[in-house]
């Protein structure tokens, strides 16, 4: 187990540097005139040019620039955005909002998909099962650019059940509708996996034993079957976080939520390079750690799984 974790951590380091390098290269390599981009439309004097060149190490090679950037990043210095704000401060504002949004979405998705998944597994082949399978197919295929504006239009504007946009402090009530939209991305796969794994477990020997012992149907299903069926679902919830992060860009854009996705989308449109690289680097780290955590959780939940 220990060796497995060490090996995974080493792989993560490699992936992290590879991914951030690719990103850094995409954003900063072959920029036409970074100083002019920084200053904007105004003319730049020679002395300003020299000062900025030295400050941003523009006279050195691309790899050295990446090295300086990484050195800053790993010591917690993300630099400043082109708007002049410290990127660390912007992250401190944005991350809690997005985390809250993602958390609400995960809770909604898990509750809904487990309940519906178990129920349709029990009524396999029935009307409920078939209808819910068709609905999951539709949800699975619907891109978030379709769901987010339509939900906002229907439930936020036309019916007025939820606030259609969020304000600066993004309360839970304001985040509810966007969280439902985000949950839609992950509900379909989670529900299908729950259904499949409950169906498989219902045929297992231990269920027959439990029934033969005279346990009630409720206890067999909710304690014995569900516990063994949820293992793949837990993994999936972890993996889905990546999808949630991507979905958050569109959702936060549509619902005007001042989170990570919102900041990122704006930073990309205004070509705010440092902001983009900073936010995405943190996202990559988060993504990698969640994947590791999920794999370890998998082993903890299922004693049959051993990592050497």
């Amino acid at each position: 187990m220990f060796r497995y974790i060490v090996r995974r951590l080493l792989q993560m380091v490699l992936t992290f540097f590879g991914a951030t390098f690719l990103l850094y290269a995409l954003v900063f390599a072959n920029q036409k005139d970074p100083i002019q981009a920084l200053v904007g439309e105004r003319p730049v004097t020679e002395s300003q040019r020299i000062a900025l060149t030295q400050r941003y190490h523009l006279d050195e090679g691309f790899f050295m620039q990446y090295w300086y950037y990484m050195k800053g990043l790993l010591t917690g210095d993300f630099g400043t955005s082109l708007t002049g704000r410290k990127i660390v401060d912007m992250m401190a504002d944005a991350w809690p909002v997005t985390l809250r949004l993602a958390l609400i979405a995960i809770v909604i998705a898990a509750t809904f998909s487990v309940t519906v998944g178990v129920y349709s597994a029990l009524k396999r082949g029935g009307l409920f099962d078939n209808v819910s399978l068709v609905i999951t197919l539709v949800l699975l295929a619907m891109p978030i650019v379709v769901i987010a504006p339509l939900f906002q239009l229907i439930f936020g504007i036309q019916l007025g059940w939820f606030p259609p946009t969020a304000t600066r402090d993004a309360t839970v009530w304001q985040l509810l509708l966007p969280a439902i939209v985000l949950a839609c991305i992950v509900i379909a796969p989670e529900m299908r996996v729950t259904r499949t794994s409950v169906v498989e477990n219902l045929r297992a020997d231990y269920v027959r034993t439990a029934r033969a012992k005279g346990l009630t149907r409720m206890r067999v299903i909710w304690v014995h079957v569900l516990r063994n069926s949820l293992i793949p679902v837990v993994t999936l919830i972890g993996v889905d976080l990546g999808g949630l992060m991507a979905g958050a860009i569109v959702t936060e854009h549509v619902f005007n939520i001042p989170g990570v996705g919102f900041n990122l989308a704006r930073a990309i449109r205004t070509e705010d390079g440092p902001l983009v690289v900073g936010f995405v680097s943190i996202l990559v780290i988060l993504f990698l750690f969640i994947n590791l955590l999920v794999d370890l959780l998998y082993a903890a939940l299922d004693p049959r799984i051993r990592y050497e």
Binding site: L137, V146, I157, I249, V280
Partner: protein, 312 residues
């Protein structure tokens, strides 16, 4: 990328396990494809998907069959005017005919989707084949590279890359988006291909062919490839739907198609601005985009189930 994984992980709709495949003729053994076709023919969902896909393809190829209006001919005098004879869906903020624009939008979606998927297919095939066939160091390097690619969330990389590639202010972005999606979406396919090749190359018939003196190229292209490509091709069908959705997403965020190129994503983005008072300019492109992506995903889903009964 993650939504691609979930699509492959998810199970078939209405897929009931162990349904007998009807009377199987005993005298003639059926091929895998023949089996799959016999199975597909009976599925309602497959035929719905085929019809929808066909309609979208016809729309993309011959938009004039559906509308005689010019989608670029907009008159502000028509702003938000309701449906009239030719313009079934009314007019948008700019006074453009929504119906004509939605019909013409299919062409860009399909072009970008198909070309990006082909590019992803070629890259994925080369990576998967080489990693699977050569193994060892080649496999280690290629697999690590794929890991790195998967480390960056797909949409984020897409936004950055697409923005980077379409720096020319006059381009309509079609080339940039196609290249972006192609370069980013091949990873899952490569992994699927790699594992299929690994299991195929250890089969006895490959060993036999090798002993008979087949050169590596013949081994790969005559023996291993035909026996490992089925799930890869099915994956590409699903990927086509996903790439169409991704194009719309990038265009929606303002880093995809631009400068007058018609895209459902841009129409949705424009529609959201005034949806409070005029919902239809938003609703129609959303419905068309949703139905198109749904059709391709349903098709891929059905074909996958037919080719791979184990997943049911």
């Amino acid at each position: 990328m993650s939504d691609l994984n979930t699509v492959t992980a998810a199970e078939a709709p209405g897929g009931q396990p162990n349904v007998p495949h009807g009377p199987v003729k005993k005298d003639k053994p059926r091929s895998l494809a023949g089996d799959a076709w016999a199975d597909l023919r009976k599925r309602k969902i497959f035929w719905i998907a085929v019809v929808l896909v066909a309609v979208v393809l016809v729309m993309a190829a011959w938009p004039t069959l559906f509308t005689s209006a010019d989608p670029g001919a907009c008159a502000l005098a028509n702003q938000y005017k309701g449906a009239t004879g030719g313009a079934l869906f009314g007019f948008d903020y700019q006074g453009c005919d929504i119906y004509a624009k939605v019909i013409y939008g299919a062409r860009n979606s399909i072009t970008v989707g198909v070309l990006a998927t082909l590019l992803a297919g070629v890259i994925g095939l080369i990576f998967g084949l080489s990693a699977g066939y050569f193994g060892g160091l080649v496999d280690a390097i290629l697999s690590r590279f794929i890991d790195i690619m998967l480390g960056v969330p797909f949409l984020l990389a897409g936004i950055v890359l697409s923005n980077r590639l379409s720096s020319d202010p006059k381009s309509n972005g079609i080339f940039a988006v196609t290249l972006t999606l192609g370069l980013l979406s091949w990873t899952t396919g490569a992994r699927v291909m790699r594992s299929a090749v690994i299991s195929a190359k250890n089969q006895d018939y490959v060993a036999a062919a090798r002993m008979l003196g087949s050169p590596p190229a013949r081994l790969i292209f005559r023996h291993i490839l035909p026996n490992s490509i089925a799930s890869f091709i099915v994956l590409l069908t699903l990927l086509l739907g996903i790439n169409i959705a991704s194009e719309a997403t990038l265009s929606f965020l303002g880093v995809g198609l631009k400068n007058g190129a018609i895209s459902w994503g841009i129409m949705i983005a424009d529609g959201t601005q005034f949806a409070r008072t005029e919902p239809w300019p938003l609703v129609w492109p959303a419905i068309f985009l949703g139905a198109t992506v749904l059709a391709f995903i349903m098709l891929g889903d059905a074909v996958r189930d037919a080719f791979d009964p184990k997943l049911r």
